[in-house]
């Protein structure tokens, strides 16, 4: 063996030893948390936004920030010697099957102590099933199917509002609009993607429409990867609705908007969710997306009533170069609530974390959202979570409802396509 080779061998061996030692020393200081998001596939752009929200939250937990937010003023988890949170991301490819397999992998081979996120209800449903079976706490803040918290799971908690609250808020808004503009808006059309999320949204809307005395004039499920939606829009058109309530992901939101314009489908009140909130939507459809009223839990213009929102938005802007979207803001919450629980538990034991999660009572001024706080009821749903409605005006989202937090006047009715 030449001298050079011997030296090289020594260096390699030494670095391996150092690396191993580093790993041992480091292991006690890092808490691994798993997150499954659609990072490839047709919902990948939205998955990326969720991931950004989670990453910013982790920055705030691990660093020291002068923000009036839980876990911001301390570094890491103080009760565990300042241990840092590390998120291990996995790709669900938008598929419930892959999501579940990845959740299992994160838990069994990456040894994460808890899970957050998921975004698609269909994926969260299977991923959280894996977590529950392996007794790992799962804190969700970005999927909304009501069914998720109605399975009697012990380790599953949801911070954000679900679609029961959303459906009620939608009809409350329509009623408020009827009063404000003195016009009957009783004919409602439901349009929704046909997986776990969209179909459960529609189920809730049907229920609340009955409760509030609205008439469902069209009820249209569709496949969100469709190449063409002409027949769906023609059905809508012939039902002549006053209000459209649409539950899409982003690609179908774009396709429907283009088809509405192409076939001249006009509706006085155009309401949407999720896909419409993805910045890719406005970028792709441009002016054609104007006046859609979208449900959200967050909007940068709320900084006017809650300065914390402005500060966090600035941090986000510095990191990613654009405003924080409602989607990123929603995913931002789960890591904070989880870190707070781990801190209070002072332990990584799943049952200890679960126990303190149940006792969670975070006041409204310590969280990003404009809610009264975070407190879980017996099905582990945050009782203080609620929605706001934003409207796209001039290529931006503006808060328009509830009236008392509105920054801008709602534009109604939506002008016909030929008058835009």
């Amino acid at each position: 063996m030449s001298k050079g080779k011997r030296v090289l061998g020594l260096v390699v061996a030494l670095s391996l030893v150092l690396f191993a030692l580093y790993g041992v020393a480091f292991a006690t200081k890092v808490i691994k948390v798993g997150a499954v998001y659609p990072l490839t596939g047709d919902i990948a752009p939205t998955g990326k936004l969720c991931k950004e929200g989670v990453e910013l939250a982790v920055d705030i937990i691990n660093g020291k920030y002068d923000l009036d937010l839980i876990m911001a003023r301390t570094e890491g988890i103080p009760s565990l010697g300042g241990a840092k949170i590390k998120i291990i991301f996995a790709d669900s490819q938008g598929s419930p099957r892959t999501g579940m397999a990845e959740a299992e992998r994160l838990i069994t081979s990456e040894h994460v102590v808890a899970m957050v996120g998921g975004y698609q209800s269909a994926v969260v449903k299977t991923a959280s099933y894996a977590a529950e079976r392996l007794k790992i706490p799962y804190v969700l803040s970005d999927a909304t199917s009501p069914a998720l918290t109605r399975r009697g799971f012990k380790y599953f908690f949801r911070v954000n509002p679900d679609d029961v609250i959303s459906a009620r808020n939608f009809f409350e808004f329509v009623q408020d609009m009827e009063k404000k503009f003195n016009r009957k808006l009783r004919r409602v059309a439901l349009l929704y993607e046909n997986t776990e999320w969209g179909s459960k949204v529609a189920a809730q809307q049907r229920k609340w429409a009955k409760e509030f005395g609205f008439k469902i004039v069209a009820d249209i499920p569709y496949y969100h990867g469709a190449t063409d939606v002409t027949s769906e829009v023609l059905k809508l058109k012939s039902s002549k609705p006053d209000v459209l309530m649409h539950a899409p992901y982003v690609s179908d939101a774009i396709l429907f908007t283009k088809t509405f314009k192409k076939l001249n489908f006009n509706v006085p009140l155009w309401m949407g969710m999720s896909g419409y909130l993805d910045p890719n939507y406005i970028k792709s459809v441009g002016k054609d997306g104007e006046y859609v009223v979208v449900r959200s839990t967050f909007n940068p213009d709320l900084a006017r009533i809650k300065p914390l929102i402005g500060k966090v938005n600035e941090l986000y802007k510095k990191k990613y170069g654009r405003d924080m979207s409602g989607i990123a803001a929603r995913s931002f919450n789960a890591p904070l609530v989880l870190a707070d629980a781990i801190n209070r538990a002072g332990s990584l034991d799943p049952d200890a974390i679960r126990k303190v999660l149940l006792e969670t009572d975070i006041p409204g001024d310590k969280i990003l959202m404009a809610w009264k706080g975070v407190k879980f009821n017996k099905i582990h749903q945050n009782i203080y979570a609620r929605y706001i409605l934003v409207q796209i005006q001039g290529g931006k989202y503006h808060t328009v409802w509830p009236w008392n937090v509105a920054s801008t006047k709602v534009v109604f009715p939506v002008p016909a396509w030929n008058k835009r």
């Binding site: 990867g225 190449t227 023609l234 058109k237 792709s284």
Partner: protein, 288 residues
């Protein structure tokens, strides 16, 4: 359901179906000549859409202007893909042939996701490409009309080309009987490469024109690819006019069926039709 909506559904079905035909035609030629299932067909459509987006972004080409460029680039790509990838497995087992194009499709999706992120993009068109017209309450969008006309032109050209040129006849001969074609002095390797090129050129044309009214993302080819498989199976392997006619039928079933039976069932209708046809006529309407 009033008549206007019914007519609208029929017109929309036709305008939807014809461009499907252009995509399927390419698949049909490749399939017919080489007996290879090109699983990456939808992904090549995606590639041509990104080419159109690039030409638009850097040189303000309108999608119509990028048709020839995209067609030529995709033709070259097809030639190279055949020469350096597909030809290697031509004599190998069937499974290798399936896996090679399948792998290519996953590779292209991954590559474009890496290069351009998963974001949705659109080509901002102006002038006639952004307009639609209203004929007695039936809305017709110009870009779709243009796409349909181009499909018809390409169909007529290819049919003429196959019957009336030496190269076309060589392709047909190889399609019918490879061994005899070889004995007659036809360079079948060259025919294969040429057919792969022509097949992808069709997709190049379709992708360019589709960009004027469809969004672009690394996964846009998935359903288009699947639809073209069904169309080819329906129209008959290797048949150009068969592919176009089957595409129109599929477009009508999707659109008209969606309106009459219910939008939720439209893909179920399309695929049931496919199943029925392969039961009755396994080689498709116009197959050899």
């Amino acid at each position: 359901m009033d008549t206007t909506n019914l007519v609208q559904a029929m017109v929309s079905g036709l305008l939807l179906g014809l461009p499907y035909g252009l995509i399927a035609m390419g698949l049909s030629i490749i399939w017919g000549v080489m007996n290879i299932v090109n699983f990456a067909h939808g992904e090549f459509l995606m590639v041509s859409m990104y080419i159109t987006l690039g030409l638009y972004t850097f040189w303000h080409f309108s999608p119509v202007m990028s048709i020839p460029v995209s067609a030529v680039i995709l033709f070259g790509t097809g030639w190279l893909v055949y020469r350096y990838i597909v030809s290697k497995v031509m004599s190998g087992p069937m499974l290798a042939q399936v896996v090679v194009t399948f792998g290519l499709s996953a590779f292209l999706q991954g590559l474009f996701l890496f290069l351009f992120t998963g974001n949705y993009r659109t080509v901002k068109v102006s002038g006639i490409l952004s307009q639609s017209t209203n004929i007695h309450g039936v809305y017709v969008s110009y870009p779709q009309v243009i796409a349909s006309l181009i499909t018809i032109v390409v169909t007529l050209f290819l049919s003429w080309f196959m019957k009336n040129t030496m190269t076309g006849r060589a392709i047909m001969a190889t399609e019918i009987d490879r061994e005899t074609a070889k004995l007659m002095g036809i360079d079948t390797e060259k025919v294969n490469a040429l057919s792969f090129g022509i097949g992808l050129a069709c997709v190049g044309i379709a992708g360019a024109i589709l960009s004027s009214y469809y969004y672009i993302s690394p996964y846009v080819g998935l359903l288009f690819g699947l639809m073209s498989f069904v169309i080819v199976a329906l129209g008959g392997f290797g048949s150009i006019t068969g592919a176009v006619i089957a595409a129109i039928i599929i477009g009508e079933v999707e659109s008209l069926g969606g309106v009459l039976v219910g939008p939720a069932y439209k893909y179920a209708l399309v695929f049931s039709l496919y199943l029925i046809v392969i039961f009755i006529k396994p080689r498709g309407f116009f197959g050899w």
